[in-house]
Symmetry: C2
Subunit: 344 residues, 2 copies
């Protein structure tokens, strides 16, 4: 049985939001993009609600923004039987879910992810939180949403680079758990992918993994493939003018670096590494990383939540479609993996 | 079976903290008082640790202080297998527990309460959090500590008014659940009470209630007796020079006001009201409340977490030793109850 309550919607109507009527109050959290593109599709179907708008972007996934959200809920007199509907991408879902989970020690919240990335990844599994300084998701909780509504049509409102960012998680889900689906997906460029198939496929893989291990004591760690090397790059470049990457763009780099480590430590074949790197580079192109960046990446890696003590923990492929975890790797090997990426 | 892991300690030795050795790192959170009075009794018995000092007082139970704690844990490179030991009263326990529960989405934490109030109340039951603006415990989570260590000797380090403050929860536990124990306790002034008996008695009552209803869907609400009227007073007077009350001093007022409401709505006898008010006034004296305070108290009552919509929810006695909950009371009656207290 799944711990996640996910509903796939081919269309929106009044019944979609029927169960929201049982709450004493409702807040819909949006950013300027989802307010413009998504909110008009749902507003008339929702019960009476307040709208809380935050500024889009990972750089606003902060305690300051949480204080704004908590204050709005407080000003509107929300009690413990009120609810929050997060209408947005991963930033809104993670932060809105965290605010709901901590407002008066927790009120119900629904996720309605509007990006490919948040539909196939962030909306399922209950990881909530905010960034702290430059540390991604450093403060947060585990808490499963009371409902996740997946409406693939929202994806048509996305700019192409956001769609491509989300697609990195689709690639990851294939690489860690489904070689057959990888063979289908990796034969086609992004624009020829069938979203109506790959979204439920991806969510099902993630749902299965997190249901078996909700708080990441073991198995769930395979979802971190690509994310240890990738998060360090994402965090480091976040504030460097002109070099900021979207999440999936950073994870694309991380997956190649970690596939390299997988050939060295966990039995991934050289031919599989080549297959992975060629497809990922064909979709994402090459991100420039400089020699002088490497020491900064090391500093970010040391802050990774997945570390235990001073060891750097990775989830690595033993082949396409199977993934190991708790692989403790030295910095010299990680540096070699980044340099391998740089050499491509 | 209890959800709380509580250990009563008649003395401290190396075995007390043995299980803390399994963590990768340990932080002990103290304030200037517990650093001076309590930490010297435990420091040599603890494994290697860092000390995080915060400034004592409810006015520092804020997000700002949380950011200081999170930053110290981050600076020391704490990973997800690190732990926090909260050595202090309710402020340290609530805030330190909240910080631990949200650092990297949650690390283990131990509570070692050093006041009577936190030993008999805050340490058991998993209510964690901080104040937001002037709203008490407005932001927080439910999360059960991994261990609660009760060492009654710490209470000898308390100033008398702190001891008296904690005693209000002892009185409350008798009033809501144990008429026989009330008869023993209410026959003696505070200084003649046997703490070695009343501390375990109080914790056992609270433990039983919260184990039956950890997240306060029903039964747990009886623990709020005295706290609805009392919290409003505590919050309102917090920032008024010369009028600030300790928690238990405010709850003492709240218990009399709510005992009055209990005679009006839930069958408490007049004679029982008299018995309650006489004993409470003999311990706490009378707190001055002015006519002009009442409208402010109403504003705070409206923010109470226990409300549903615009109704004001109370837990009221049906007799000494038994308590009801979900009693929805109008402001005019609550005002009458405050005025009754003022008339005594």
């Amino acid at each position: 049985m799944s711990i996640n309550k996910v509903s796939f919607l081919s269309e929106l109507d009044a019944s979609t939001f029927k169960n929201l009527q049982g709450y004493t109050s409702l807040a819909v959290i949006v950013d300027e993009n989802t307010k413009r593109d998504c909110y008009p599709l749902v507003s008339s179907l929702l019960p009476e609600h307040i709208l809380i708008e935050v500024v889009s972007g990972e750089e606003n996934k902060t305690l300051d923004t949480c204080q704004h959200i908590w204050q709005e809920l407080t000003n509107a007199g929300f009690d413990r039987k009120a609810a929050v509907l997060d209408l947005g991408g991963g930033v809104i879902g993670d932060m809105g879910g965290f605010c709901a989970s901590t407002y008066k020690r927790g009120i119900d919240f629904w996720q309605m992810p509007t990006t490919l990335l948040s539909q196939v990844d962030a909306s399922v599994g209950g990881k909530l939180g905010i960034d702290f300084g430059k540390l991604k998701n450093h403060i947060g909780v585990f808490n499963i949403p009371d409902m996740v509504l997946i409406y693939p049509e929202f994806i048509n409102t996305l700019p192409p680079n956001e769609l491509r960012s989300g697609f990195a998680e689709v690639i990851k889900h294939c690489l860690i758990a489904d070689a057959k689906h990888w063979n289908t997906v990796s034969k086609k460029p992004l624009k020829e992918q069938d979203l109506a198939t790959i979204i439920p496929h991806s969510i099902n893989i993630k749902d299965g993994v997190v249901t078996s291990d909700p708080t990441e004591k073991g198995m769930r760690k395979i979802l971190n493939f690509g994310h240890t090397a990738g998060h360090a790059i994402e965090s480091y470049l976040l504030d460097i003018p002109g070099r900021k990457l979207l999440h999936g763009e950073a994870i694309a780099v991380g997956m190649i670096a970690e596939a390299y480590l997988s050939t060295k430590f966990t039995g991934l074949k050289e031919s599989e590494l080549k297959e992975i790197q060629e497809y990922i580079l064909s979709v994402y192109g090459k991100v420039e990383i400089k020699e002088s960046d490497l020491e900064h990446l090391y500093a970010y890696l040391l802050q990774d939540k997945k570390n235990t003590g001073k060891k750097l923990s990775f989830s690595l492929l033993s082949g396409i479609g199977t993934c190991t975890y708790d692989q403790f790797i030295e910095w010299s090997d990680i540096e070699e993996a980044y340099k391998y990426y740089m050499s491509l």
